[in-house]
């Protein structure tokens, strides 16, 4: 039973186009993998996913002020029996590293990081480039298992990564690539 639900602004559009379909598939994959608690900081690429989650009264969704805060909230949700995910830009990993290691990993907690991977050849914001380039070496240094989602057919991996995060009680990361939403259906 939800209480005091924080509502973000709902889109006036209720038709479903290809982009909406991809967002729905991503949410369904997380839910099928067992995720039932969400923290989020917005990104253009994540807007549709966040809107879907926020519209579901059966899911806990907490908008956060900084990604590291989400790592703390996710840890508490795990203590309370939930399986959490954080939705954020890849730059947010940089704001979270100490907590991911000295809280999530130290106490062996499950956590799915669903990140939009900014930077790369389609990026128009120059400040996204450095973390965009650093994100994969960072994940490898931290020992965080990750996958990249480029195509609709890759979305099934999100369910596997969510399930693994919960079963193995560890952090798993998913990088959503811009190409995913540009793919011809």
């Amino acid at each position: 039973m939800r209480r005091n639900k924080y509502k973000t602004t709902q889109s006036p559009f209720n038709w479903m186009n290809d982009k909406d379909m991809i967002d729905t598939l991503i949410v369904d994959a997380m839910l099928a993998g067992g995720i039932d608690f969400f923290c989020s900081l917005p990104c253009n690429m994540l807007a549709g996913i966040i809107r879907i989650i926020d519209g579901r009264d059966d899911l806990d969704h907490i908008p956060i002020t900084r990604e590291e805060e989400g790592v703390g909230i996710a840890a508490g949700a795990h203590l309370g029996g939930k399986n959490p995910a954080i939705l954020m830009q890849n730059s947010g990993l940089g704001n979270s590293i100490n907590a991911l290691l000295s809280l999530t990993t130290l106490y062996r907690m499950p956590l799915l990081l669903l990140m939009s991977h900014r930077g790369g050849r389609y990026e128009r914001i120059v400040a996204q480039m450095p973390m965009g380039d650093a994100i994969i070496p960072l994940l490898e240094t931290l020992g965080i298992d990750y996958c990249s989602i480029f195509r609709r057919s890759d979305i099934a991996s999100i369910r596997v990564f969510a399930k693994d995060a919960i079963l193995k009680s560890e952090i798993k990361a998913v990088l959503l690539q811009k190409e995913l939403w540009d793919e011809e259906s």
């Binding site: 956060i64 703390g72 062996r108």
Partner: protein
């Protein structure tokens, strides 16, 4: 007030109402562990600044439990955004206690900005938390803290503390075992 005496009062009330405590790292956790260890205490060992956030996640996911965050002035100043999040989510079963000794006591009492011009209670009110009080003696703390945990709304207490610390050893619990017994206590309560 000495911090250890504040912790004694918090623990007494927590035991009475079966409250689940998320305790800030360093000497606050060590002193709490030293006074009386219990399964319903979660001792942070790292991730400074996230005490209130962990407690918020627990309170939202366990709405039938009373959750108590034992924060410090130094740690809350690292994560002031968490006060805005808590104020907007408003978990009625969450009480945030900030032990404000105006210093980083675990590293040698270097002053924090609450020793200067910063007022944590005003920040909490500005974040949107309605039930905020500052206490300066043990009698007032006990009565206000008891009311706060029993109330059906989010509460925050700033307890002004002396620069005191107890020479107690580090916590020798395995983090994984400590977490598991905490989760077991939450679930046992749920099933019982």
């Amino acid at each position: 007030m000495k911090r250890v005496d504040i912790l004694r009062i918090v623990l007494k009330v927590a035991v009475e109402i079966r409250g689940f405590i998320i305790s800030n790292l360093g000497f606050p956790s060590r002193e709490l562990y030293h006074i009386r260890d219990r399964d319903e205490n979660f001792y942070m060992l790292g991730s400074m600044g996230l005490c209130g956030s962990i407690a918020l996640g627990l309170a939202v996911s366990s709405p039938e439990k009373e959750v108590i965050a034992i924060e410090g002035d130094g740690s809350i100043l690292m994560n002031l955004g968490s006060l805005a999040t808590a104020a907007n989510i408003r978990p009625p079963n969450l009480t945030i206690l900030i032990i404000d000794n105006e210093a980083h006591s675990s590293t040698g009492f270097q002053p924090t900005f609450t020793a200067g011009v910063t007022d944590l209670a005003a920040i909490a009110r500005g974040a949107g938390i309605e039930d905020v009080v500052t206490v300066r003696d043990e009698k007032e703390l006990e009565s206000r803290f008891f009311d706060a945990v029993k109330s059906d709304k989010l509460s925050l207490i700033v307890a002004k503390s002396d620069k005191s610390w107890e020479d107690v050893p580090i916590i020798d619990l395995d983090p994984l075992l400590m977490k598991k017994r905490f989760i077991k206590a939450i679930r046992a309560d749920f099933e019982g």
